[in-house]
């Protein structure tokens, strides 16, 4: 286990050190002490390493992650795992706005609640939230899966494309062109896998699926009121 004191050694040194890890590095386990809500912790990683942040983080922790596993023992500020490509990010606490925004791949697990715009413009990432998510989550979401074990706020999946939303609790309201969809066996399989990977004991059968009604895919003046 490699330890890094962020307060003493600084952000630049931290990210440069983590970026220097090659695919075949034998320094695969890292622990970051004293994060104290700093921004841009462990961003742009691209190696199969596991990084544990001992505390809470500011904006964009694990942004654009590739291959790495990043664990945050506290809560995460806005934009955690934004544009993640692959790997895994786990937040033990809550996540602020835009969690997993525009993510292309990998798995983001939030064991607490996620704030508004969770999974905004997601492009293939999988997100599992053990708690609730805030309003406008999944806005313009393109692809990937968002699993919410609690409730969803207003305007879930507004203007979404092909992303899937699985919600166990209530949905305060659906956004424009988002509708409840049939749960088919393949969706149960997707859920099973994601819940297991996210260490969540919820049952797939308890969830409802939501997604695009595809009415707004091509502009039609008769739908103008929906915009």
């Amino acid at each position: 286990m490699q330890s890094f004191d962020l307060e003493a050694q600084g952000l630049r040194e931290l990210n440069a050190t983590l970026h220097a890890q090659a695919d075949d590095t034998n320094q695969t386990a890292w622990e970051i002490d004293n994060p104290k809500g700093a921004h841009a912790i462990a961003v742009g990683l691209d190696a199969p390493i596991e990084v544990t942040v001992k505390g809470s983080t500011g904006y964009y922790c694990a942004g654009m992650n590739q291959q790495a596993t990043v664990n945050v023992t506290g809560s995460a500020g806005p934009g955690v795992a934004e544009n993640m490509m692959s790997g895994k990010v786990v937040i033990e606490g809550d996540a602020s706005q835009y969690a997993g925004a525009t993510g292309h791949g990998g798995l983001l697990v939030i064991k607490g609640n996620a704030s508004s715009r969770c999974g905004i413009s997601m492009k293939g990432i999988n997100i599992v939230v053990h708690g609730n998510i805030g309003h406008m989550s999944g806005f313009m979401a393109q692809s990937g899966n968002m699993v919410v074990c609690g409730d969803a706020g207003d305007a879930l999946g507004d203007s979404c494309y092909e992303a899937r939303f699985f919600v166990r609790g209530s949905v305060k309201s659906l956004g424009a062109d988002c509708e409840e969809k049939e749960m088919r066996p393949e969706h149960i399989e997707i859920l099973k896998e994601l819940l297991a990977e996210a260490e969540c004991d919820a049952k797939p059968e308890e969830f409802k699926r939501y997604g695009s009604a595809r009415n707004l895919y091509n502009f039609d003046v008769d739908n103008a009121a929906a915009y």
Binding site: R12, A40, Y59, Q66, M85, T102, H104, Y161, Y217
Partner: protein
């Protein structure tokens, strides 16, 4: 036409309305027929105060010129030295503005790279990400970081020579983009992670930050990911140039790209293009003032875009304080867009040479703003690149000609004192004297 009625009383001459012109009436008829606003490409077509309303005075007894064919007039510019360890060094201060793969064909993007590289300058990606053609043929490539984040990935980010965070675009300040289904080919759909054939919307705001304080943190993140090596530009529309430039500088930008309303877009509503934003002439001085007020003029570079067409425009923008300019529409014309040789086909599309702006429909006879494989074959990227290089060289020579005539041995040495304005509006916007006077509206101490 009958000139008298049946009783022999003369008719008044038919009088066209200045309010309901034939153009306006055709807009109304089109709206009534379709129920949808007009979408088009390009920038503002209305006449606005422009660099044409300024003149250089040239040398006189008080200032002596440089010899055109003997004395040097430098044109190089360095962009991004504020924080980047690898700033961009350009031979000429004319860059190629961001235009997306999707809006443009792959060969057109290749040609932009070829031409820019041959002329010693940079080109820029656009919504939709970085293509291998473009990266492979661009010595200096600026990677746009847009609200949609289509095609955005860290591997390409690390391949970029600079990053341009796009906040706004001159053609549509406050608006997102759109790429209609006709242009969402398999390749475009794959790069953007979207279903083929849909009307694709590009967001108007970034998904993971709002406001200048967040922008500062976003810039920090991008610098950390790229090791503080490459410059980070912030592109804003010419909406509130003083404040936007101030906030971009405070957020940590290495350069500010300022885009006036003549700047083009691949597609947006005509009403947006013509009625939102400010002319390029009006936005330079407030931005330069912001840089000066913060002690950052020439430290944070100002790149002006929007309707730049000639070396005279380049020289005027630089005389007003810009460090460089960017061209988009002009570059497309150099490649062959709106070329008279396609007139018959423009007519078939209901338009004519010079007026073709339905770039979003993907039917471009010149094969540039299209994803149609047959139309794309008409465009030769090698020839296109050569034409763009020639055009960039001519613009540079023109700007040098003017600078030498003003006694300047570097384009950056041009200054507002070299200029006069032909109109009151231009004098007020550029803060240079109305020709024949020593006054401009708003000049301090004049009571106006």
């Amino acid at each position: 036409m009958k000139t008298h009625d049946d009783k022999g009383i003369p008719h008044t001459s038919p009088r066209q309305s200045a309010t309901f012109t034939n153009d306006i009436n055709s807009d109304i008829r089109r709206a009534a027929a379709t129920g949808i606003y007009d979408i088009r490409g390009g920038g503002a077509k209305r006449k606005v105060p422009s660099f044409d309303d300024l003149l250089f005075m040239g040398a006189s007894i008080s200032r002596y010129p440089l010899e055109g064919y003997r004395e040097k007039c430098e044109t190089s510019v360095t962009i991004g030295g504020r924080y980047a360890s690898n700033p961009i060094e350009l031979d000429i201060p004319i860059t190629i503005a961001g235009m997306s793969f999707g809006a443009l064909s792959g060969p057109a993007k290749e040609a932009l790279g070829r031409g820019a590289s041959a002329a010693g300058t940079s080109t820029t990606t656009g919504d939709g990400g970085m293509t291998p053609e473009e990266r492979g043929h661009s010595n200096k490539l600026v990677y746009q970081y847009l609200p949609s984040r289509y095609g955005m990935n860290p591997n390409d980010l690390r391949k970029a020579d600079a990053i341009e965070i796009v906040v706004g675009q001159g053609a549509k300040p406050g608006g997102g983009g759109m790429l209609l289904g006709q242009k969402i080919s398999d390749r475009v759909a794959e790069m953007r992670n979207l279903p083929k054939g849909i009307d694709q919307r590009s967001a108007c705001r970034h998904p993971d930050w709002t406001g200048p304080d967040d922008l500062e943190i976003k810039i920090l993140e991008l610098r950390e990911i790229t090791g503080w090596k490459v410059p980070i530009y912030v592109k804003v529309a010419g909406a509130r140039p003083y404040y936007d430039t101030t906030l971009a500088i405070k957020a940590g930008a290495d350069a500010v790209v300022l885009d006036g309303m003549q700047g083009g877009t691949a597609a947006t509503q005509d009403v947006f293009i013509e009625h939102v934003g400010q002319p390029s002439l009006a936005i330079v001085r407030p931005a330069v003032q912001a840089l000066q007020d913060l002690g950052m003029h020439r430290k944070v570079q100002l790149i002006l875009s929007g309707g730049i067409r000639s070396g005279a425009d380049v020289a005027k923008a630089m005389a007003l304080g810009a460090d460089a300019v960017a061209i988009g529409t002009a570059a497309l014309i150099a490649l062959g867009d709106n070329d008279p040789k396609w007139e018959a086909e423009y007519n078939e599309l209901g338009t004519t040479t010079g007026a073709y702006d339905d770039w979003h429909e993907g039917k471009d006879p010149a094969g540039i703003t299209t994803q149609d494989p047959e139309l794309m074959k008409r465009f030769d990227p090698v020839e296109g690149g050569r034409r763009l290089r020639n055009y960039l060289k001519v613009m540079t020579l023109e700007a040098q000609t003017i600078a030498r005539a003003c006694g300047k041995n570097h384009l950056h040495n041009l200054e507002p004192e070299d200029l006069v304005a032909l109109t009151m509006e231009a004098a007020a916007m550029a803060k240079v004297p109305l020709a024949g006077t020593d006054w401009w509206p708003g000049k301090s101490g004049t009571g106006f």
